[in-house]
């Protein structure tokens, strides 16, 4: 069970997942509570053309820079679009999402190595993570965690009661930008390892699964983090075993995500049991697995 991780590339892959888990767990709690599943999904798609442009211009190193520029730009645009809770949020977000994704596909299709490049951008290359890339992820993770810790209280207030937070003197527009930038940074940090499509799973499933077992936000963040690390370990092991012993080529990132979704499904009965014990509460719209579809 441990032997495969003695190989450097497997160890690095697990370390990368663990670093991502530390930021995805807490950030996913806010994505869940703010019901930003669709916005996060849009973010992962709009980062795609940035990834492609960055890769074409500067290779693997340029990829993160391109993603960063596209991610921050999207964070600003989406904050402006969703300002004041306008009803056309979804439509506007969808337009940005599809337009940017199409631009990315057009860009990547001009390359000769079209298929392999596209696959790498969409699904990541978890097993080829280098030591330098690990350092990059760690730096981004540090930035995200510090920014989240500073803003946690204000973000919680704004998430629970936007009018109350505004009345208390918090600038809701800036807080929204703050969270959108954090989501963008998480997407950028994760994109090389798990690809633009699967990042959204790390941003939505952990908190949704953790919500099944707890009513406390801090516990949700911890449970979400542990779930990603667990799914990361098991997913890498499964894809390793499948390809080595059974000759089945299983993308490691998708194994990780599938196990995460499996954890979510397995925890549904826990939620039902807890709901039966608690007094029944009207449950409003909740993030669902449907929102995972990119």
């Amino acid at each position: 069970m441990i032997a495969p991780f003695e190989l450097p590339f497997m160890a690095r892959a697990l370390a990368e997942i663990a670093l991502l888990a530390v930021i995805c767990g807490p950030v996913s709690v806010f994505v869940y509570a703010r019901r930003l599943a669709f916005v996060s999904d849009a973010m992962t798609h709009t980062v795609f053309p940035g990834v492609v442009i960055g890769f074409v211009a500067g290779g693997l190193e340029g990829l993160v820079v391109g993603a960063l520029v596209a991610g921050l730009l999207t964070a600003v645009v989406l904050t402006l679009l969703t300002r004041g809770g306008r009803v056309s949020d979804d439509a506007a977000t969808a337009v940005v999402l599809t337009a940017m994704f199409s631009i990315g596909v057009v860009l990547v299709s001009r390359r000769t190595s079209y298929t392999s490049d596209l696959t790498a951008f969409l699904f990541g290359r978890l097993l080829t993570v280098t030591a330098d890339q690990l350092v990059e992820t760690a730096v981004l993770a540090g930035v995200v965690l510090v920014a989240l810790l500073i803003g946690a209280r204000a973000l919680l207030f704004r998430t629970f009661d936007p009018a109350g937070a505004a009345a208390a003197g918090f600038r809701v527009g800036w807080l929204d930008l703050w969270l959108n930038v954090l989501v963008a940074l998480v997407v950028v940090a994760s994109v090389r390892a798990v690809g633009t499509i699967l990042v959204v799973a790390l941003l939505i499933v952990p908190a949704a699964a953790a919500r099944m077992v707890t009513d406390r936000l801090a516990v949700m963040a911890v449970v979400g983090t542990v779930l990603i690390i667990g799914a990361g370990y098991a997913g890498l092991l499964v894809s390793w075993t499948a390809s080595l012993h059974y000759g089945v080529a299983l993308t490691s990132a998708s194994s990780v995500v599938l196990l995460l979704v499996a954890a979510y499904l397995l925890l549904i009965p826990v939620r039902l049991l807890r709901a039966r014990r608690q007094r029944r509460v009207p449950s409003a719209r909740r993030s669902s697995v449907h929102e995972l579809v990119g």
Partner: protein, 251 residues
């Protein structure tokens, strides 16, 4: 405190240059309880949001705690309607009340003993000390409204604005809220309470302001809650009942 907690002179408020409410003249002093009375859509919530600096003043002079409303942001306490909040939100009663302390605590610092004490006292004051650890959404509508009142109390405001605090609230919670509001104003806080319940306005308020698109009357409850003035405000949907009691009816 010197000067009024809230003073409006010929104020119009609204969104994007379009006035929702006009001709508002108010003067609320420390310890006073003002009731904003009017039908749904009269502009009661808009007026409250203008005091909080969330809706712009389009015309007239507005002063909140001696300053421009936008400058006074964060100084006044605000109690929203509980049904505007997500009952499924994973947050405890204690956490909700602690939100009232966030501005004092600041961004970095953990909550101090004084903050925790203020939260405990505020919960005790609204009679929910034993529910601190419960999830907010598991409480009844009336209890949730009391938690939001406790949150405002924890922020120790000199001016407190309540948006329809008695909507969908059971009798026990209503009595509890009325008792706490009286205590708060006795302690020197100025209160602004929006309601469409004429009985509550009469019993609780020192000053009543009738609104419907504009201010129709303001003054002591006995002067303002008259059949004639209510009919003017509500557009003829008021019926006199015995003993000077008023009833609003559909046309």
């Amino acid at each position: 405190m010197t000067g009024p907690a809230l003073r409006y002179d010929g104020v119009s408020v609204g969104y994007q240059g379009t006035a929702v409410l006009t001709h508002v003249d108010l003067d609320v002093r420390a310890g006073q309880r003002l009731a904003l009375v009017g039908p749904n859509g009269a502009g009661k919530s808009t007026l409250i949001k203008s005091v909080l600096g969330l809706v712009p003043v389009l015309a007239g002079q507005a002063s909140v705690l001696g300053a421009d409303p936008s400058a006074a942001r964060g100084q006044a306490g605000y109690v929203p309607q509980t049904d505007t909040l997500d009952a499924d939100f994973p947050v405890s009663v204690r956490q909700v009340v602690m939100m009232g302390r966030y501005r004092r605590i600041g961004w970095w610092r953990p909550a101090r003993a004084a903050d925790r004490r203020a939260v405990a006292e505020a919960l005790d004051r609204v009679g929910l000390a034993d529910r601190a650890g419960h999830r907010f959404g598991t409480l009844s509508g009336g209890q949730r409204q009391r938690v939001l009142l406790a949150r405002a109390i924890a922020s120790e405001p000199r001016l407190l604005l309540l948006d329809e605090p008695f909507n969908g609230v059971d009798a026990v919670s209503q009595d509890e809220i009325v008792r706490v509001l009286r205590e708060l104003s006795a302690g020197g806080a100025a209160l602004v309470i929006s309601t469409h319940d004429l009985g509550v306005a009469r019993d609780l308020a020192d000053v009543v302001c009738l609104l419907n698109g504009r201010q129709w009357a303001v003054g002591a409850p006995s002067e303002v809650l008259t059949a004639e003035k209510l009919r003017m405000t509500y557009g003829g949907h008021v019926v006199d009942v015995a003993d000077g009691q008023m009833m609003l009816v559909e046309p």
